[in-house]
């Protein structure tokens, strides 16, 4: 019937002779076991109609021309790709048109045809084509009483979930009917569909029904199994909709069920539930131990079909062991010893000779073993078990199965963090180092690196670090950065003498300079600065390292910094005299990037202070056109400023300004933070004790934190070098929240919120009542891609939903992200946008405070004069009023002030205030929970514009009609500001909830002045 048959007969014959299952190691049989032949109708099933076969065959013929020698249908070299794809699409379009006309035709289709066409649609969809019709026909199939029609209907729905609400209702209806049908096969289909789709709508409709099905006494076993896992799926997707209740205790007792399939399904459900509510499912522990004990002590044939390759119920055992990991070791002594016995039995079995040579036997047995070891590690309370586990894993480290070696390395990582087994793990160090050198699979080598990192302590640090360094020379590029971080951390953590540390890091830069992130070299500088015993050595070593004809830019950075600080410590030696040092650094200058050059310039000015004898040479360099007229603003400015400083400042001033860097305050290694981020939480062995002191003097009183903190440099001259980072390489590791441009957004919604050398972030926002939408535009200013770009918004008070963004921004391109914001109640902290991306190998972190303030949720309110004053007077209570007076920086311009007030969000009410010079506004702040009306007045103090020292206080001023309501203290403020140009007042009134008012008002007040133009004396009432 099929022409394929001829082509594959030989193959079939061959595999028949081989006999048995067509399974097993594909490599061993040159890929023939899963053999190739025409699908055959099973002996019992001549009646199985293959509805799509003809169509599928035609499609296959479109895409593949068969070759008699080809082992596999789709194999062989005779692809005609371009043409065949076309043919496939043509064929599919023809078929789609046909189906569409059948569905639309006048004649009602019988169930069989409907099923046939729905099935074809499904197939086309699974080939990767879009399907936009047929959903209704599929839903119709649900109500068929023919099982296969129903089945295809359900399959279509499971695969092509449609959020169309009408359809969902119909689907749910079909499911409901089947659930109520008491026909177990129908019920199973319905439950499978719910579990597969798992949507919220379905959870709403069925989450309360399914527990009843699950625990009902007369439910068939197979239905119970489906119901348990269906409930598990719903609990994962919509936990809030799955009601806990009386059924939970009955679910636990399913662990005792006769039917092992029911126990298997129920254990998964209980584990998921117990992770969330451990207390409710405590009783499951004793039942699980009892069940496990029965399984591990059973003879391999006892469990009949649940025995898998001579291993008793491996899936159930793994699940039970997993469930036990939700709890601490049992307190009850008898239970505890029974569990220990189980675990011992499992460990013993690992030593027994295998009952079968099949890999399935050893896999199933070891799956249970690894899960048991995971439980032992989780309990972390039985030293003997831990050590036995460790020894067992040690055997696996040299096993011929790659999979086992991989898992042993992985599992040992967690064992290494237990105090009981740390020493035992260490005994395998040589094997692991050997694995690092000989394993052919990079993922296994990666595990070996992880394990070496985890087993490292003071006793073996030097050896492990040396091995990692030598591995780094040949390591795969994909894991180099991680190894660099690990080496840097271990070197710091276990450094006994810091000369070793300095050597290690310099080696690191030499071997893998490109993978040494900013954090690593910042850290070495922090440590050298804080430890005065290592400074001379560091200076000598970097000086020597810089002698190499080609050295990495990171080394130049470290060298420039350290020689600039401590070059004097080695200047006594004529081979490293000041001039030699300077010439050495300057020989690298032209090969370096702008940030490094900037750093070198700072090093030069420090040289001028350290070594007066090279002052003239350095001044010449600074004076050269390539510096003074450098196209880069930063370099030019530095050259000009440093040159000037060196010319005019006296030696004393120079010495003060260019003083040695003060020690850094102690903090957690930022490298460690970076590694944690890279590996994700929980994946890193416990390294908390890495907060070791690297500090010479811990009582440092200097105001700045460290190089990584990158605050804009304080004015103190001692921070000159810090300045290097804050200006040019700040984006590299900025973890500070940028709020520089924040105030600009008080009265407007669009503009640039953040910009550095790499990235520009623009905002466009719109607000309606308590909702806002913000469009964030990320502009890549470089010509290189940003990789692994991700952004998240953290907000304590607002609901902010950010749409996912593409992880790549091409050079010069812009990407848009949409944030939806909901104001729940009054708030004072603005949300923070955290951005992370990779630029040229270095990870960049940027945090920007987003300009979402309470006033964004203002809705302007128009109001008549009379209303306004009536309300204004009602709001006289002290907690309802905020006022602030401050001085003008610019003359008041009416139009500008109006625009600002409108931008602030309130309605500007014309002709309300008797004094035309005053501005009056009204608005309502919308939050989800409440609405707050607000009145606002800005009163420019015209009196103050005259330079008259004796101007009357505003309260008695005719332009101050509300002045009488002001408490005296404000008069004090007024008079203090008297004589300033363009003084103004803003009164803000409102019924603020809680005692939030003052804060809000002063926030508002503080918003206004930085813009500089509106009000210079802002009076807000509370």
């Amino acid at each position: 019937m099929f022409d394929l048959e001829v082509l594959v007969t030989t193959e079939r014959e061959r595999s028949r002779k081989r006999g048995g299952l067509a399974l097993g190691d594909p490599a061993a049989s040159s890929g023939l076991r899963f053999k190739n032949r025409r699908p055959e109708v099973p002996a019992s099933g001549d009646n199985k109609v293959k509805i799509c076969h003809c169509f599928i065959r035609k499609l296959l013929c479109c895409s593949v021309r068969l070759n008699p020698d080809a082992t596999f249908l789709s194999g062989g070299g005779s692809f005609k790709k371009g043409k065949s794809k076309e043919a496939e699409i043509k064929r599919i379009n023809k078929e789609l048109a046909n189906i569409r006309s059948k569905f639309k035709g006048d004649k009602a289709l019988d169930g069989y045809s409907k099923k046939k066409y729905v099935c074809k649609l499904l197939f086309i969809f699974l080939l990767g084509h879009d399907i936009d019709f047929g959903h209704m026909e599929a839903v119709n199939l649900l109500s068929s009483n023919k099982y296969t029609e129903k089945q295809i209907g359900y399959l279509f729905i499971s695969v092509l979930v449609n959020s169309n609400s009408d359809l969902i209702r119909l689907i749910n209806n079909g499911i409901k009917n089947d659930l109520a049908s008491r026909n177990p096969t129908f019920m199973n289909l319905a439950l499978h569909c719910i579990a597969n789709v798992g949507s919220r709508e379905m959870a709403e409709a069925f989450a309360s029904e399914i527990p009843r099905v699950l625990v009902a006494g007369d439910t068939m076993d197979s239905v119970k199994q489906s119901a348990a896992l269906c409930l598990l799926r719903l609990n994962r997707t919509s936990p809030d909709l799955v009601p806990m209740g009386e059924w939970t205790t009955r679910v636990v007792h399913l662990l005792n069920d006769q039917h092992l399939g029911v126990v298997t399904a129920a254990t998964s459900l209980i584990t998921t539930l117990a992770q969330k509510n451990p207390d409710d499912f405590k009783t499951s522990v004793s039942l699980a131990v009892a069940r496990l004990s029965r399984i591990v002590t059973s003879a391999s044939i006892d469990l009949q079909d649940y025995t898998y390759y001579f291993v008793a119920a491996p899936w159930l055992s793994v699940k039970l062991l997993r469930l036990l990991q939700c709890y601490p070791p049992p307190e009850d002594a008898a239970l505890r010893s029974r569990l220990t016995e189980c675990l011992e039995t499992i460990l013993n079995k690992a030593q027994e000779p295998p009952k079968s040579k099949k890999v399935q036997h050893s896999n199933a047995k070891n799956a249970v073993l690894f899960e048991a070891i995971a439980l032992i590690i989780h309990h972390d309370s039985e030293p003997t078990l831990l050590v036995r586990a460790c020894n067992q894993l040690g055997q696996f480290l040299q096993h011929r199965e790659t999979n086992l070696r991989y898992l042993a390395l992985e599992s040992m990582c967690t064992l290494a963090s237990s105090e009981f087994s740390h020493e035992a793990v260490k005994t395998h160090m040589e094997t692991v180092i050997n694995a690092l050198k000989t394993e052919r699979d990079v993922s296994v080598r990666q595990r070996a690196v992880d394990l070496l990192y985890a087993m490292c302590d003071r006793s073996n640090a030097k050896q492990i670090v040396a091995e990692m360094l030598s591995y780094l020379e040949t390591a795969d590029y994909s894991i180099r950065e991680e190894i660099v971080l690990k080496v840097a951390i271990l070197a710091e953590k276990y450094a006994v003498d810091y000369t070793w540390y300095v050597d290690t890091i310099l080696n690191l830069i030499r071997i893998a300079g490109d993978y040494v992130s900013e954090e690593v070299w910042y850290r070495v500088i922090q440590i050298v600065i804080n430890r005065d015993d290592v400074q001379g050595y560091a200076a000598k070593t970097v000086f020597e390292a810089l002698q190499a004809p080609a050295c990495h830019e990171n080394l130049v950075k470290v060298g420039g910094y350290i020689l600039g600080e401590f070059g004097n410590l080695i200047a006594g030696d004529s081979r490293s005299s000041p001039l030699v040092q300077f010439n050495l650094l300057h020989s690298k200058f032209h090969l370096c990037s702008v940030p490094t050059r900037a750093l070198l310039l700072s090093a030069y000015i420090k040289f001028i202070n350290l070594f007066p004898e090279v002052k003239a040479t350095i001044q010449d360099v600074l004076r050269s056109d390539s510096q003074l007229r450098n196209a880069d603003v930063e370099l030019q400015q530095r050259a000009v400023e440093y040159l000037r400083l060196s010319c005019i400042a006296s030696t004393d001033i120079l010495a003060t300004v260019l003083e040695e860097m003060p020690p850094f305050p102690e903090r957690e290694s930022s490298i460690l933070a970076k590694l944690k981020k890279k590996k994700g939480p929980g994946k890193l062995p416990d390294m908390d004790d890495s907060r070791r002191s690297v500090n010479g003097s811990t009582d440092s009183t200097h105001s700045f934190t460290d190089v990584l903190n990158l605050n804009p440099a304080p004015s103190s001259g001692a921070n000159l070098l810090i300045d290097v980072f804050s200006e040019s390489s700040a984006p590299a590791a900025a973890t500070d929240v940028s709020e520089e441009n924040f105030p600009r957004f008080v009265c407007k919604n669009n503009g640039v919120i953040y910009e550095n050398q790499l990235l520009q972030i623009g905002l466009k926002s719109e607000y309606r009542q308590n909702l806002g939408r913000m469009y964030v535009f990320y502009g890549n200013k470089t010509s290189t891609q940003f990789l692994s770009f991700s952004s998240s918004v953290s907000s304590s008070d607002l609901n902010v939903h950010s749409k996912a963004v593409d992880p790549v921004i091409e050079g010069g391109a812009q990407m848009q992200q949409i944030l939806n914001i909901e104001c729940v109640s009054d708030f004072s902290d603005a949300p923070v946008l955290n951005i992370q991306f990779r630029y040229g190998g270095a990870l960049q972190n940027i945090a920007v405070k987003l300009p979402v303030m309470l006033n964004k949720f203002f809705q302007p309110t128009e109001m008549m004069s009379q209303d306004f004053f009536q309300r204004w007077k009602q709001l006289g209570a002290p907690q309802q009023e905020v006022q602030k007076i401050f001085k003008a920086k610019h003359p008041m311009d009416t139009e500008v002030a109006k625009a600002k007030i409108l931008g602030f969000g309130v309605a500007l009410l014309d002709g309300v205030d008797p004094n035309p010079a005053n501005f009056v506004g009204a608005g309502v702040v919308h939050t989800k929970t409440t609405q707050v009306g607000c009145l606002l007045r800005l009163e420019p103090n015209m009196q103050a514009q005259t330079p008259n020292g004796n101007a009357a206080p505003p309260a008695t001023d005719p332009s101050f009609p509300f002045g009488a309501g002001l408490p005296g203290s404000h008069l004090g403020i007024c008079s203090r500001c008297r004589g300033e140009q363009g003084d103004g007042f803003v009164g803000l009134k409102g019924t603020w909830p809680k005692s939030h008012e003052l804060k809000v008002a002063f926030d508002l007040a503080s918003f206004l002045p930085p813009d500089g133009r509106v009000c210079e004396r802002l009076l807000l009432r509370t």
Binding site: P26, I56, L126, A265
Partner: protein, 149 residues
């Protein structure tokens, strides 16, 4: 388990089963990425790899790759045997299964998977019971459809 994919050596997806809600676009992206990663691996390499924050367990049977994504806490070896048990089930049902069976009878492949795994967890590990359920369904189809065959 988060999802299971079956694809051929040429990278053609033959079966996909997702146990976590994802958009079609994401699914396509994940599939493309994973197929590429897995196909690039050499035969003697280990069956596990870390991918994003998931663990991938895969095994090749003749021309087909069976590939599962599991979470950090899940057991790799038992997942490997889940794959094997599924292949055994297919094999028993189709009688010496091959890639073409899964193409021609994709719906059956899905039904068998649903009987074996549900919501990403093993539902019924007994081969006999799973096949009984499937065959029962086939029989009921037979009895219902006798009228028109």
């Amino acid at each position: 388990m988060q999802f299971m994919l079956l694809f051929s050596r040429q990278g053609k997806l033959r079966l996909q089963k997702w146990y976590v809600p994802l958009s079609d676009k994401e699914k396509k992206k994940i599939t493309r990425e994973l197929v590429q990663t897995v196909l690039a691996r050499k035969p003697k390499m280990c069956s596990f790899l870390e991918w994003r924050d998931l663990k991938i367990v895969y095994k090749r049977y003749a021309s087909l790759y069976f590939c599962c994504a599991i979470e950090d806490q899940d057991n790799e070896l038992i997942t490997l045997e889940i794959i094997h048990r599924y292949v055994e089930l297919l094999d028993k049902y189709f009688g010496s299964v091959c890639e073409l069976d899964i193409i021609f009878n994709f719906e059956k492949a899905y039904f068998i998977l649903d009987e074996f795994l549900l919501g990403g967890e093993a539902q019924e590990t007994s081969k006999k019971n799973v096949l009984k359920a499937i065959e029962q369904a086939d029989l009921s189809y037979f009895s219902f459809s006798r009228g028109w065959i």
